[in-house]
């Protein structure tokens, strides 16, 4: 072949494209995580659920017995009540902070965000111990009150339901603040202004415009805090008393006693309660958009 002919054929050869790379679907991208979750999460959960109904034969006896189990009913009621109080507490304390955070700009916003997030970087264990130091019989609060001669004998603060709830509110606050602040930050600043120009007083602007438009964040924060509260273990174990036991503690206690079927049964109940709550919220009108992003 002459040089000229070679030159002419070269572009032709280049047009023979290699086969386009095979399209790896999104399914393949999530496969490793799905596999991991199946082996280390789904299987153990299923095994646990199976244990709650096989004792040693297939039976619903454990679940039926729960209904008449005074300890369980007390613990379950206490768990729900604590979760409700903690959720309400974080909402009341967190909403104003979220509002302030959403109105800050620049350095002030960054510093405040770091202060809100700081507890996140400390372990729950450490924070719970901190509350023990504060609330103990000879803790900071009792000593301070005694030094001020306000009390003679130390108050019983530690190992109470009060201690559990106050510590949980502290630990869970960021989970309430962040979703609300992120929704408020996206609020068009012209909307509160429009409301004011139309004659709404400051409180009216908040109640009629800001609050309703921040509901997606409120619902997201409420769900997060409530669901996390239901499963709290370390904090109630450290700062609570025996009467303030939560469901996770009861489960751990039964595991210690090697009462596996009962523990599995309690776990299944906790799981079911959580799922029921999520489904209930899903069914509420107006909440759908929160759990299904994209609908505005």
């Amino acid at each position: 072949m002459s040089d000229a002919a070679l030159a002419r054929s070269a572009p032709l050869q280049r047009t023979v494209m290699p086969r386009p790379p095979r399209h790896f679907g999104p399914a393949l991208l999530v496969a490793p995580l799905v596999l991991y979750m199946a082996v280390f999460y789904a299987l153990p959960v299923l095994a646990m659920l199976a244990r709650s109904v096989i004792d040693p034969h297939l039976t619903l006896r454990n679940f039926i017995q729960l209904g008449g189990d005074g300890v369980f009913l007390h613990v379950f009621a206490n768990t729900l009540l604590t979760a409700a109080i903690v959720t309400l507490g974080t909402l009341l304390l967190g909403y104003p902070v979220a509002l302030a955070l959403s109105r800050m700009r620049g350095m002030a916003a960054t510093v405040t965000l770091i202060i809100v997030l700081l507890p996140f970087w400390t372990s729950v264990l450490v924070r719970s111990y901190a509350w023990m130091v504060l609330l103990g019989r000879h803790g900071l609060i009792n000593e301070a009150l005694r030094a001020a001669a306000l009390i003679d004998t130390p108050l019983r603060l530690l190992n109470t339901a009060f201690a559990v709830r106050i510590a949980m509110i502290h630990i869970l606050l960021p989970y309430m603040i962040l979703p609300i602040a992120s929704v408020l930050r996206q609020l068009d600043p012209a909307l509160p202004r429009a409301a004011a120009s139309l004659g709404a007083r400051p409180w009216g602007v908040f109640a009629q415009v800001v609050l309703p438009l921040s509901m997606p964040g409120v619902i997201a924060g409420t769900l997060l805090v409530f669901v996390l509260s239901l499963g709290f273990y370390i904090t109630p174990a450290l700062v609570g008393g025996p009467r303030d036991m939560m469901l996770s503690q009861l489960i751990a206690q039964q595991v210690d006693l090697l009462n596996w079927p009962y523990a599995a049964c309690l776990s299944a109940t906790l799981l079911a309660a959580t799922l029921a709550l999520l489904l209930l919220c899903q069914a509420l009108p107006g909440v759908r958009g929160v759990l299904r992003p994209g609908l505005r």
């Binding site: 202004r193 007083r201 400051p202 438009l213």
Partner: protein, 374 residues
């Protein structure tokens, strides 16, 4: 809008009911940087006044101070002679239309329009009636139950307008309300707003950066630049007799020619420019020997027959065609004078017009009456 009254009788203000607005030496500084640096302006009752300026000129800040969302750092704002500087926005009773409409997304169209009525304790039945009337007026009858996101941009704009006037404010502020709409829709809404203004009889203060919109709609325009009013006057005056270079170039297109004053007589300035001796008119005669800029509009210039004698009421100079562009209704020529100054000339297109070739030497003429001296 077939001649039927545009505005329901119940919403029309009595004649002379528009608010009078006075801005006295108004000033706003952000961290020491002046956004508004001493604006004084008397807005008459029932006037349509436009604040026109480029972005960052301070026009929106001025509007926000009238509305009460920004606190002036100096000067005063009075409505009907009463200072409102200390009055919070919700007590000023001013209607306002925002740039992106600011309709409440969680409320229906009906609830949006009823919002100001609810704040004023208007009875439910009356509210419903007023909402229906304003929707009919905005040609959106029966839209009460829709949500803003289900409406087009133009429809949202009408709802925002209805919401801003349903409580019969005596002053309506508008912050670039047509900015987000396409050209055709803008033009039809401009006409609607003018008509609305005429029928409501209230004072409109309108902010825009679109000079054409300002010329079409306003009774008077305040051209704002760098926090100050560059010129205030009716549209024709701003266009034909700009007082400074900024106004001349911001409103429409202008040609500028530098010269030295040779003599002044009867409002006419004779100036020696590099290309020719030119005449212009002004109200404030500059001293002989001072440097001046003469300006004229591209469409006021014509090509002249080089053999025709010159006329004392016409300016005339020689130039070379650099660029010729056909733009539909007009031909746009870029010309270079002998001294290197560039001019733009716009000529209506048509069979009678001879297209000039690039490189052709031509004579340009324009009336002295259309030449302003800066």
């Amino acid at each position: 809008m077939d001649g039927t009254p545009f505005v329901a009788r119940s919403m029309r203000a009595a004649p002379g009911q528009g608010a009078k607005v006075s801005l006295v030496d108004l000033e706003k500084r952000f961290d020491g940087v002046g956004a508004v640096c001493g604006i004084s302006l008397e807005i008459a009752s029932g006037e349509f006044l436009t604040l026109l300026g480029p972005s960052g000129s301070g026009k929106t800040t001025t509007l926000m101070m009238i509305a009460g969302f920004e606190t002036p750092t100096g000067g005063d704002i009075a409505i009907d002679g009463h200072s409102v500087t200390g009055t919070p926005p919700h007590r000023r009773n001013i209607g306002m239309v925002f740039q992106n409409y600011a309709l409440f997304p969680h409320l229906t169209v009906g609830e949006n329009i009823a919002f100001p009525l609810k704040q004023r304790g208007v009875h439910r039945g009356r509210r419903k009636q007023l909402v229906a009337e304003s929707l009919a007026m905005m040609q959106l009858p029966g839209y009460e139950a829709r949500y803003p996101r289900q409406l087009s941009g133009g429809q949202q704009q009408r709802v925002a307008l209805a919401r801003a006037i349903v409580f019969q404010p005596r002053l309506l502020l508008m912050d670039e309300p047509l900015g987000a709409l396409d050209k055709q829709l803008r033009e039809s809404l401009q006409l609607e707003m003018r008509r609305l203004h005429a029928e409501l009889g209230i004072t409109f203060v309108y902010v825009t950066h679109d000079q054409e919109e300002a010329l079409i709609m306003s009774d008077r325009i305040a051209v704002v630049n760098e926090g100050r009013i560059a010129q205030l006057g009716p549209p024709e005056e701003l266009y034909d007799r700009p007082q400074n270079r900024f106004v001349a170039s911001f409103i429409g297109e202008s040609n500028f020619l530098q010269g030295t004053v040779r003599s002044t007589k009867g409002g006419v300035v004779v100036a020696d420019c590099a290309a020719a001796t030119l005449r212009g008119i002004t109200t404030q005669l500059p001293p002989v020997g001072s440097a001046v800029t003469l300006t004229t509009r591209p469409e006021r210039m014509h090509f002249a027959d080089p053999r025709a004698p010159s006329h004392p009421m016409q300016n005339r100079l020689r130039a070379t065609v650099i660029e010729a562009m056909f733009a539909g209704e007009r031909c746009r020529y870029l010309l270079r004078c002998d001294d290197g100054a560039m001019l733009v000339l716009k000529e209506p297109s048509g069979a009678a017009m001879r297209r000039r070739a690039i490189g052709e030497t031509i004579d340009v003429t324009w009336p002295v009456a259309d030449t302003a001296v800066l």
